[in-house]
């Protein structure tokens, strides 16, 4: 018997109301992500990749359909419970890194842990471990403005892993990086997945998508 899925989406539909009329971003998408799976979602711009990622990450609610995360139906959760679920079970990596500019690399990685009320000693240990994991121990006290794009994305990955999530969602993680740096980030994501974290990557980067165990193509809000 196979392990229960990390996330399971059934018949997801997302319709955005627009002044010119409703736009269907997703139409009847079903998807199951198993533990330690590495899934790449590709497709043309506007096909609904990021919308699917946001739905899987519980930052958006579907117009219809259901999402179960670690066996819990997300639709039945309150906003606070969904926040808690994201904090504890999901890691996000964004195209534009979105590190907090007033915090150091260390503080950015520590932030989700303190929000989850992890004791200080454990936070310190985990932050040190994660910065070492992404190769940035020596840049711990640096602010994002003092880091390169690749370094910022590595800090963002460390932040995503801070609370030991079962699922990491990465939206164009190499989109802002040159090829060499993008490859380093792709290597790092491989390692994250190899260490047991399920990974869903939305990307236009064919080389990055090729590293995934499962590649999904999307067109016009549907899985191809």
């Amino acid at each position: 018997m196979s392990a229960p899925p990390v996330v399971e989406a059934r018949d997801l539909t997302k319709v955005f109301p627009m002044p010119a009329g409703p736009v269907t971003a997703l139409g009847g998408v079903s998807l199951r992500i198993d533990p330690s799976e590495y899934v790449a979602i590709s497709g043309p711009s506007g096909c609904g990749k990021s919308t699917l990622l946001h739905l899987l990450g519980c930052v958006e609610t579907p117009t219809s359909g259901s999402i179960a995360l670690d066996g819990r139906q997300v639709a039945s959760l309150s906003d606070a419970e969904r926040s808690r679920l994201r904090l504890a079970r999901i890691g996000f990596v964004f195209q534009r890194f979105f590190l907090l500019p007033m915090l150091t690399a260390w503080e950015n990685v520590e932030l989700p842990q303190s929000e989850l009320r992890i004791p200080k000693a454990k936070r310190r240990e985990r932050t040190r471990e994660l910065l070492a994991y992404v190769g940035l121990e020596s840049r711990a006290d640096h602010r994002p403005s003092q880091l390169s794009g690749g370094e910022m994305q590595r800090v963002a990955i460390a932040r995503a892993l801070a609370n030991r999530p079962s699922l990491v969602l990465a939206d164009e993680p190499t989109g802002e990086l040159d090829e060499a740096t993008g490859t380093q980030i792709a290597d790092l994501l491989d390692r994250v997945n190899a260490d047991g974290t399920a990974l869903v990557v939305v990307t236009h980067n064919a080389a990055l998508a090729a590293r995934a165990g499962r590649r999904i193509a999307m067109t016009s809000g549907r899985l191809a």
Binding site: S50, T51, H54, G57, V59, E60, D79, A80, S83, R84, L85, R86, L87, A88, I90, F92, F94, Q95, R96, F98, L100, P101, M102, L103, E107, E110, L111, P112, S114, E115, L116, R159, D171, E172
Partner: protein, 401 residues
Amino acid sequence: MSPAGLAWRGLVRQPARAALGVAGIAVVGALLFDMLLLSRGLVVSFRDILEGAGFDVRVTATDAPPLLGPPLRDAETLAETVRALPEVRDAVPLRSGKAEATAADGSTLPIYFFGTGSRSGHGWTAIEGSGLTPSADAGTVPVVVNRRLASRLSLTPGSKLRLRGACGSQATALPPVEMKVQGIVAFPFDSSAGLTAMTTLPGFLRVCANESPGLAELLLVASKPEAGADAAVAAIRRVAPGLHVFSNEQLLDRLQRTDFSYFRQISFVLSAITIFFAFLLVTTLLTVSVNQRLGELAVLRALGFRRWRIVSGLLCESLLLVGAGGLLALPGGALLALWLDRILRTMPDLPERLHFFVFEPRAVLLHVAIIALTALLAAAYPAVLVARLPIAATLRREVVS
């Protein structure tokens, strides 16, 4: 990291914006603090002067302000009657008039001139010499003068002072009376430029050539501490039902409703305006700040920060901005109050000890409460923006922009 810590780091990250915000709040906060001081300053100051005079009840013939209405008749008998009341410690009739003091070079100075039934020193503070003690020489009229008159005429205790009364109908016909200065004193209601002399009631009558004996404009009464002013007022009303009897508190209450109410209304209007400016300033700063950081805030929400956590961070930012500005406003407001008070006190004929801006701990507490409330209200709109922030749509917008 706590919401306050995160808010602090957010402010430090943009020091110019934070400094401008704090400076703006400090300026409007200083004005607010001054308005709070002004709203009760006159009352507090006037109470100090009244209580400093040593009397807590006043009796007049009508409800006209003291010394401005018709005089009491048979005042010394009235004083005796009142003094005999068990609630009363002392009762002193006071006459007022005008006189001219003659300087050594023969020139004359118009002065305020009073006659009092008190020899105890109630009603003035001795600076030099004694009070109105009976003189060994029965023909000598004792007088105490204020420091300004003493200075103008080079008077010291023991000096002679020639006064010509300007009393009622005999104003110009009265001969001067030579008086002996027994002390230099400070009268509670002395104005900054006023020249004042006070003698005994018989002395007053001599200067005024026995015009209208038995009259007094005012009866000053000191209640016994164990009885209190209200009991003394009630007792005097029983024995002198036709007269107007009021305690210091009642006088202050009347002044608050009449003469002082202008200042209270002005301070209220200006307070409301300054609070509104503070509110607008903080709301604008925070709204701009929130709009600049929508991406960051959406990311925090995506990472799992609860809505309330983000809103509380914003409230902390508002409180830090307004708190820092509000604290700076206190010394700034105090200096401004001293300056404004000095300007207002140059108005003629005001008691020298009267202040318009008076520091009270309650003004600081009220200032802090109003500032904190303003901070919370000012954060309301940006807080709503943050609370309703659509995470996914904001992230999409940030990536596209």
